[in-house]
Symmetry: C2
Subunit: 148 residues, 2 copies
DNA sequence: CCAATATTATTCCGAATGCAAGCATATATA
DNA sequence: TATATATGCTTGCATTCGGAATAATATTGG
């Protein structure tokens, strides 16, 4: 039996811890956003009309609807997202990115890009990074919530 | 500017969500262990004398010492781990794997290996899986808490 | 048209976590 | 030796999260 799948999973779990440690702090101190906040805003920024329903956000973020509700509350107070009711379905209330939110997520994303680059700055060739991105992308192919 | 580092990070975050979703449920229902419990036991199983101090466990699991204390409590009640005081340093209290813990972690690890293999059962060559494991391993090289 | 079911969002509650504080012990320094 | 500092662990507190229950609305099937 091959050991590679198990090793890949264990290393992925460890790498995730590393990312949280390296990214969360600076993202919060510079932009006032938790990593999950930034990901939420990034999903909005990439959505048509820069808005999504809460269940849609929940699926993309692998979170429960209650988490989305609570996560959005502070973002609303900060004026980064707003609410829009659907004309045809009174149950839906979209989370929509405001202009301030658009600006903030652009800044946060720039920081994330920079820190992502830093992560590979040592002993990584461009081809290796691309291979890693490709393989990880295949792992989540067909999943909702792809964020490119 | 290359987009590969950012794509790799985003895909890694997504892949981690996928793992949690696919692994946590079955691991809990079959073995009565959360994923973090299993990882803790696996670290113990690989340690000399199958025991580690709590701060050591905290570093390896990227958790706070208080989390380790509280995580170990139920495992103690289940008889999977025990306590051992250090002869020379009265501050230390090792978490040591019991025989029951050794058996349980072996079962859980077998399940994890199987589910890891399942994760790549479609459209993945052995070489690709090995490459992914290798690249992820390089990402966490030099970090504490490597688990192979 | 009406009843049954499904969907969306929110709130409540229990579980898990980190930080800060506190306690006990060990090490370093004067 | 005596004091100051560092280390290991635990506990209290605040925060975050998911699941269940709830409420409002929509859809489906008779």
């Amino acid at each position: 039996m091959s050991n590679a799948p198990f090793a890949a999973v264990l290393h992925l779990l460890r790498a995730h811890s590393l990312l949280e440690e390296r990214f969360a702090g600076e993202l919060a101190s510079i932009h006032g956003l938790a990593l999950k906040d930034a990901l939420l805003l990034m999903h909005l920024a990439r959505a048509p009309l820069t808005r999504l329903s809460r269940v849609d956000l929940a699926k993309r973020l692998n979170a429960s609807p209650s988490t989305i509700t609570r996560t959005c509350l502070p973002l609303e107070k900060l004026g980064l997202v707003g609410r829009e009711d659907d004309q045809r379905d009174a149950r839906l209330s979209y989370v929509v990115l405001t202009d301030a939110g658009r600006a903030r997520v652009a800044e946060a994303e720039a920081t994330l890009r920079q820190k992502s680059a830093d992560l590979f700055s040592d002993r990584w060739s461009e081809a290796e990074i691309a291979t890693l991105a490709d393989l990880l992308g295949r792992l989540t192919a067909g999943q909702p919530g792809r964020l490119s």
